[in-house]
C-alpha cells in the first residue's frame, strides 16, 4: 500500500516537472525587482500591471518581486547577480546609474533597441526625467516611478490664519511671512515642515536650485557643496527653524511627516508627489498642492526609480525586457500608474490620454509635478554615490541640529567628496 502510494507520488512529481520544463521552454521568463518608497498599496498596482502584460504576451512570464525600499532593491539585485541567479531587469533608484555602470551590471538601452520604432520610444520621455538616466551620451535608465518635490498645504489652516487659500507662498520670503502667521504659539501647529531624514540631500537639492545652484556636474565627478549659494541655501533651511521659528528645530522625520500633515500639525509640507494619492485619501480637510517657492528661481530635483536592464541576460531576455518596459511606460499605463499613485506620467503623451486628462480636469493638483518639470534638475548622483550622498546628508543634519555651522559642515563634506571623486576625473 505504502509502496504503491510512493510510486504514484513519484510519477506525479515527474509529470509535474516535465510539464514545467516544457512550459519554460516555450516561454521567456523574466525576474524583475521593484522598490516602493512611499506609503500605499503600490505593490498591488505593479502586480496588476504585470499581470495585464502577461495576458497580452503569453510567451513571456514575469516574476515581479517587491524588494523593499530603493536601497534594498539595489542590494537584492546586485546580490542576485553575484550569486549567479540574476534578475533580467529591475526598477532601481535613478541615481544608482554610476554605481551600476561601475559594477558593470547594466546595459545601455541604445545597445539593446533595434527598430526605429524602439529608438523613437527612447526619445518619447520628458527630457528632464532622462537627465538621471543618461551619461556619456547613452541611455541607461527609463523613467518609471518618477516624482518631484511639491508643497502640500492645508487650505483650512490658511483660511483660519486669514490667508488666501488659493495663493500659497511663491517665494522664500512669502514662505517665511505666511509661515509665521500659520505657526501657533502653543506649538499645536507649525508653519512648514521639510523632512531631513531619509533623503535630506533630495530636499536640499530643491533649496539649492531655488538659490540658483546645482550640487554636481553632469559627469558625476565633481560636487559643489561649498559654493556660497549652496551654503546660503542650508543657512535658510536652518533659519526656518532657529530664526524664523516656523519649523521645528532638529531633524524632521521623512516617514511620519505625512501623518503630521494629515493631523494638522503643520500647515505646509514638502514631500514627494508619490504621496499625492495617499494624502488625497487621508486628508479630512481642504488641501492644496503647489510648486515649491522660489528665491532666485523655482526649482526641484526629480526623483524616483528608473528601469534598468541587466547585462547578464540572453538576447531573448533583453528583448522581452524591452517589451515589458515599453508596456509599463506606455502612455496609457503611465497614466494609470500616475492616477493610482501620484507619481508623474513619464511622457507628454501620458498626459494626452483620456485617463489622465479626465483625472487632471477633476483634480488639477495631479498636474503640478508635471508643470514643475520645466524648473527641475537632476537628483544628486555621482560616482561613489552612496558615500557622497551620506557626506551631504550628514552635513545637512549636523547643521540643522546645530552641531556645526552650515559653512563648516558643507566645506567639510566638499573636502571629503573631492577626495573620493579624485580618481574619476
Amino acid at each position: 500500500m505504502f509502496a504503491k502510494m510512493k510510486r504514484l507520488f513519484l510519477i506525479t512529481a515527474a509529470a509535474v516537472c516535465l510539464a514545467a520544463t516544457q512550459a519554460a521552454a516555450a516561454q521567456t521568463e523574466l525576474t524583475m525587482y521593484y522598490p516602493v518608497a512611499v506609503g500605499g498599496p503600490l505593490t498591488k498596482v505593479v502586480d496588476g500591471m504585470v499581470e495585464d502584460f502577461m495576458k497580452e504576451n503569453p510567451d513571456i512570464k514575469v516574476n515581479a518581486i517587491y524588494a523593499g525600499n530603493y536601497n534594498d532593491a539595489r542590494i537584492k539585485a546586485l546580490a542576485a547577480m553575484k550569486s549567479g541567479k540574476p534578475a533580467q531587469l529591475s526598477v532601481m533608484f535613478s541615481i544608482d546609474i554610476y554605481e551600476l555602470i561601475n559594477q558593470d551590471a547594466i546595459v545601455a538601452f541604445d545597445d539593446v533597441v533595434e527598430t526605429d520604432d524602439e529608438k523613437k520610444w527612447l526619445d518619447s520621455f520628458y527630457p528632464t526625467l532622462m537627465e538621471n538616466g543618461k551619461t556619456d551620451g547613452k541611455t541607461w535608465g527609463i523613467p518609471f516611478q518618477r516624482s518631484t518635490i511639491v508643497m502640500y498645504y492645508n487650505k483650512d489652516a490658511f483660511r483660519a490664519a486669514g490667508l488666501d487659500p488659493e495663493k500659497p507662498p511663491a517665494t522664500w520670503e512669502e514662505l517665511v511671512s505666511m509661515g509665521k502667521k500659520l505657526t501657533k504659539a502653543d506649538g499645536s501647529q507649525w508653519g512648514a515642515m521639510i523632512p531631513s531624514t531619509g533623503y535630506p540631500y533630495w530636499m536640499f537639492g530643491a533649496l539649492t536650485m531655488q538659490n540658483g545652484e546645482v550640487l554636481m556636474n553632469d559627469s558625476g565627478n565633481t560636487t559643489y557643496f561649498d559654493k556660497p549659494g549652496v551654503v546660503e541655501a542650508l543657512q535658510f533651511w536652518k533659519d526656518l527653524g532657529s530664526k524664523h521659528k516656523i519649523m521645528p528645530e532638529g531633524t524632521i522625520e521623512w516617514g511620519t511627516l505625512r501623518q503630521n500633515f494629515l493631523e494638522g500639525k503643520t500647515a505646509m509640507m514638502w514631500h514627494s508627489t508619490g504621496n499625492l494619492t495617499a494624502v488625497k485619501k487621508g486628508a479630512k480637510f481642504d488641501f492644496g498642492v503647489a510648486m515649491l517657492p522660489a528665491q532666485k528661481r523655482r526649482g526641484t530635483p526629480t526623483g524616483g526609480g528608473n528601469f534598468y536592464i541587466f547585462k547578464n541576460s540572453t538576447p531573448e531576455e533583453k528583448k522581452a525586457s524591452v517589451k515589458l518596459i515599453r508596456f509599463m511606460t506606455s502612455p496609457e499605463r503611465s497614466a494609470e500608474w500616475s492616477v493610482k499613485t501620484g507619481y508623474m506620467g513619464v511622457s507628454p503623451a501620458a498626459y494626452e490620454t483620456s485617463i489622465l486628462k479626465d483625472y487632471v480636469s477633476g483634480f488639477p493638483y495631479a498636474a503640478v509635478a508635471r508643470d514643475q518639470l520645466e524648473y527641475a534638475t537632476a537628483e544628486l548622483s555621482t560616482h561613489q554615490t552612496g558615500r557622497v550622498r551620506k557626506l551631504l546628508d550628514d552635513s545637512i543634519q549636523s547643521a540643522l541640529t546645530g552641531r556645526s555651522t552650515p559653512e563648516e559642515a558643507l566645506t567639510n563634506a566638499q573636502k571629503q567628496a573631492a577626495m573620493l571623486l579624485k580618481k574619476y576625473q
Binding site: N71, I75, L78, E99, N102, Q103, D104, A105, G187, S188, W190, S196, T197, G198, P248, E249, G250, T251, I252, E253, G255, T256, Q259, N260, E263, K265, Q384, G386, R387, K390, D393, D394, S395, Q397, S398, L400, T401, R403
Partner: protein, 293 residues
C-alpha cells in the same frame, strides 16, 4: 600515534564530524574569508581585486564615522546592559510570587520580546514622533513641550537605549524566572528561621545562586548590544549626523550602500575582535568567581 587511529577514536571523530563540518563551513571559514577580504581591494565589475595590505586598516584610523560608531556603541552597551539585566531580575522576582493575575503580568512583561525588532521600531517611531507621538501627547497634557526625540543628537541615542531596554528586559526575565524556580524553597525557610531579612537573603543567598544565569545573560546582552541594529533602519538610519549610528550599521552601509567590501571586511574583523575579547574576559575571568552547583 596508533592512539589517534584506534577504532574507538575514529568512532569519536566521526561523531564529532557533523558539528565540526558545520562549525568550519559556517563560522571559521567565513571568518578567515573576511580577514582575507579585508586585505584586498575588492574588484568592482571590470576591475579585478588586488592586494591592498593594511590600507583598509589604515583607513579605520582616519574614518571619523568609525570613531563615532565605536563611542556610540560603547554608550549603547553601557546604557542597555546593566539596566536591562537589573530590570529583568526585578520583574522575575515580582512574577515569581503568587498573586492574582500573575500569568497576565508575565505575559505583559514578555510581550516585547515576541515582537520582531522592526515592528518594535515602527511602534516606537510613533511614540517618539514630535507633536503627534504618544510621549509628546502625554507631555502636552501636562503642558510640557517635548523635545524632538529622534531629531536631536543629544537625545537620540538615549531614546534608542530606552527602546532597546524595553525590548530586551522581558527576554532576560525568562532566564531569571527559570533559574528562580529551580531554587529550593527550603533555603528561604531556613533563612527565615535563622532570622535573615529579605534583603539579606537576596544578597547572600539568592543572588549568588543566580550568578551562572547572570553570566549567561550578560554575555547575551553584550552580544546583543553589538548585534541589534534593525531598529536603526526604521528609526534614524544612524542619524542625525551619525549621532545614533552603531558599528554593525556602519558595516552594513559600507558593504551595501558604498559597495566597499574590503573596508567592510576590515570593520567586521574589528567587530569580531571586540566580541571575542569580551567572551574571553567573561568566560575566563568571571567564570572563576561563580559558584556552580
Amino acid at each position: 600515534m596508533h592512539q589517534i587511529f584506534s577504532r574507538q577514536s575514529i568512532y569519536g571523530w566521526l561523531l564529532l564530524l557533523p558539528a565540526a563540518i558545520l562549525l568550519f563551513a559556517f563560522t571559521y571559514y567565513p571568518m578567515a574569508g573576511t580577514f582575507f577580504d579585508s586585505i584586498f581591494n575588492e574588484g568592482s565589475g571590470s576591475l579585478s581585486s588586488r592586494y591592498n595590505g593594511p590600507l583598509n586598516y589604515q583607513m579605520l584610523m582616519i574614518d571619523p564615522v568609525f570613531k563615532t560608531v565605536l563611542i556610540n556603541n560603547a554608550i549603547f552597551a553601557l546604557g542597555t546592559i546593566p539596566v536591562s539585566i537589573g530590570l529583568a531580575l526585578m520583574m522575575a522576582l515580582i512574577v515569581d510570587q503568587h498573586f492574582l493575575g500573575r500569568s497576565l503580568v508575565r505575559m505583559a512583561f514578555f510581550t516585547p520580546t515576541v515582537l520582531p525588532m522592526i515592528a518594535v521600531a515602527n511602534i516606537w517611531l510613533f511614540f517618539y514622533t514630535p507633536d503627534i507621538g504618544l510621549i509628546d501627547s502625554l507631555l502636552a497634557f501636562f503642558g510640557i513641550e517635548g523635545p524632538n526625540w529622534l531629531g536631536d543628537p543629544d537625545t537620540v541615542l538615549s531614546a534608542i537605549i530606552v527602546m532597546a531596554i524595553w525590548k530586551e528586559a522581558g527576554f532576560f526575565m525568562i532566564f531569571y524566572l527559570a533559574a528562580l524556580q529551580t531554587i529550593s524553597p527550603e533555603l528561604k525557610e531556613a533563612a527565615k528561621l535563622e532570622g535573615a531579612g529579605k534583603l539579606y537573603y537576596f544578597r547572600r543567598v539568592l543572588f549568588p545562586l543566580l550568578m551562572p544565569t547572570t553570566l549567561f545573560i550578560s554575555i547575551n546582552a553584550v552580544i546583543n548590544s553589538f548585534k541589534l541594529v534593525d531598529h536603526l533602519f526604521i528609526l534614524t538610519k544612524g542619524g542625525p549626523d551619525n549621532a545614533s549610528n552603531l558599528l554593525l550599521y556602519h558595516i552594513y552601509e559600507t558593504a551595501f550602500s558604498y559597495f566597499d567590501q574590503g573596508y567592510a571586511a576590515a570593520l567586521t574583523v574589528v567587530l569580531l575582535l571586540i566580541l571575542a575579547s569580551f567572551a574571553i574576559v567573561q568566560f575566563f575571568f568571571f567564570d572563576r568567581r561563580i559558584h556552580y552547583r
